[in-house]
Amino acid sequence: MTALDFSTTLGNAWFPAPTFTASGCASSGRELSQFFDLSDIGGVVTKSVMMKARTGRPTPRMAETPSGMLNSIGLQGPGIDAFIAKDIPFLIEQRSRIIVSIAGETVEEYSTLARKLRSVSGISAIEVNISCPNVENRGLVFACDPEASKRVIDGVRRTIGGELPIIAKLSPDVTDLPSIARGVVDAGADALALINTVLGMVINVDTMRPHLGGKTGGLSGPAIRPIAVRAIYQVHAAMPQVPILGMGGVTSGKDALEMIAAGASGISIGTASFGNPTAIMSIQNELKELLVTKGFTSMRQAIGFAHRPEEV
């Protein structure tokens, strides 16, 4: 087997592998560390953390759908202080690369979270999950509002300074994704995470009511993969220089390669880990093998390959 350079970069952060957990699908890594060594993957993207501890939405919080699932967790979590005190040290001890995902209810809250993280060492990047309701604007999701998206990223950028890469995580539930993407890049995002879940609903025909406690939920898993690939392709076409952390239904090395060819520099694996705790490890191995078989000597050569004109 020829030597394959499997590493990737997101902004100025370097990772030995392009395969990450997806935020909210690995908690803070502790549970998965019982199934594989966290330092063997590209990195852990932690569950979006907010200022205060949150209990989240009522149950049921999940519903399986054809080749997918809905979740409505409501960002249950310990709050930023407990997270920094307990979770970061654990991950550092495991020699895991860390991407911290943050979520807020106001533009200000995002900046405050960034301020708290600024002085924490051992973090490779910050993922800013803007698919949250903005309490200052009728609960309209930040990521669905170009202006609010920009303000959030701008605030985080100013607070955090120029060092730590900022990955803005966008929602696919918008009319014009490339323009939202351009807005947050202009505001200071170094990279983009695509895609967050798609808004969905299941009605329980026994009760004839929405099945989830939170009524609507986020659709994830293989069902949404074609939507994710399209989103990555569209955004990469518009801004080929901006690195993308791709996600949405990746379950195999082939799926990961699809996203890389569409324009992703890294891949997050979420729902697949629910079905198989070691999914990331096997996806990593399959992806490596595929790249080598296809004659690539570095993963990065494959990024955005699908955009090249066909050789005749």
Binding site: T55, G56, T59, R61, N71, Q76, P222, S273, F274, G275
Partner: protein, 278 residues
């Protein structure tokens, strides 16, 4: 807590037998040496639907019993109700089928260090893990009494050989088709008063567990219950399976029934807040 699954492995396991028992299927599955690390109260997570399945999530099943046989090595027994697509698929797997399981998962029943009197209460297929538990308790010298209930006779799971480890077994059906007519929770208050019960172990529908909690509240009886919530991952990473539970300081937090459970202290679970916004 977080290292609760350190013995868990994902394996391809062969179905050794599949028998219909009333409305359930009894599946014996070869899990080799993993049988030795399974404790009563642990569960397994099984891939369903085969290779091209549109069902992407595993299904959880309580381990009813484990045993090591010279023919098959270590095996585990599951009692499965053919409910929806996934459990129906599992019930359709015949001898020789190979299934993908993760085992053992979750927090097991706590076993008393002293030979105390205990009461085991099972509802429907919830009786399954109680027989394995009874063996362990019996070996500890505990007096083990058991109550089983269901809506109707065919939903009572009470194997002959399971009765060996219990001192008494009473059955309740709502339609009176087997044992006494009524609910399995009906006699509990009297039993607590009449006998010196230290621990109630329960497994069954949430309403049954909650009813037992109401009975034990204010008494000295410890209530170890195995809860059942919808689980997307079974290993603690998704936060779908949560229940409101109070900690020692009385703070209520949402705990994961897959990893902080399925066995929980009934007195800590906030039964009235299950499924509500906190």
């Amino acid at each position: 807590m977080a290292l609760i699954n350190k013995n868990a492995s994902q394996i391809l396991a062969t179905v050794v037998s599949n028998k219909r028992v009333g409305q359930y299927h009894q599946l014996i599955i070869n899990i080799g040496d993993l049988a030795t690390v399974c404790k009563p109260g642990n569960f397994v997570a099984i891939n369903v639907g085969g290779e091209n399945s549109r069902m992407i999530l595993r299904r959880a099943f309580a381990i009813s019993r484990v045993s090591s046989s010279s023919t098959f090595g270590g095996t585990m027994e599951l009692i499965v109700a053919p409910h929806g697509q996934g459990s129906k698929w599992l019930c359709a797997q015949n001898e020789g089928s190979v299934i993908d399981v993760i085992v053992p998962l979750g927090t097991a029943f706590g076993i008393p260090t002293e030979p105390v009197q205990v009461l085991l209460v099972g509802g429907g297929y919830g009786s399954a893990p109680l027989f394995g538990l009874a063996e362990v308790l019996n070996a500890r010298g505990c007096r083990v009494d058991m109550l089983l209930g269901a809506s109707t006779a065919s939903k009572i799971y009470a194997p002959m050989e399971g009765k060996r480890s219990v001192n008494s077994l009473r059955i309740f059906t709502e339609d009176g088709s087997m044992g006494q007519s009524g609910r399995v929770t009906d006699p509990i208050r009297d039993l607590i008063n009449d006998m010196n019960i230290a621990v109630i172990y329960s497994c069954g529908p949430m309403a049954m567990l909650s009813a037992i909690d109401a009975i034990t509240r204010g008494t000295d009886v410890v209530h170890q219950c195995a809860v059942e919530e919808s689980m997307a991952c079974g290993i603690g990473i998704c936060m779908t399976c949560v229940l409101p539970v109070s900690d020692t300081e009385g703070n209520i937090t949402m705990q994961r029934s897959c990893i902080d459970g399925p066995v929980m202290d009934g007195a800590h679970v906030q039964w009235d807040k299950v499924g509500k916004t906190l």
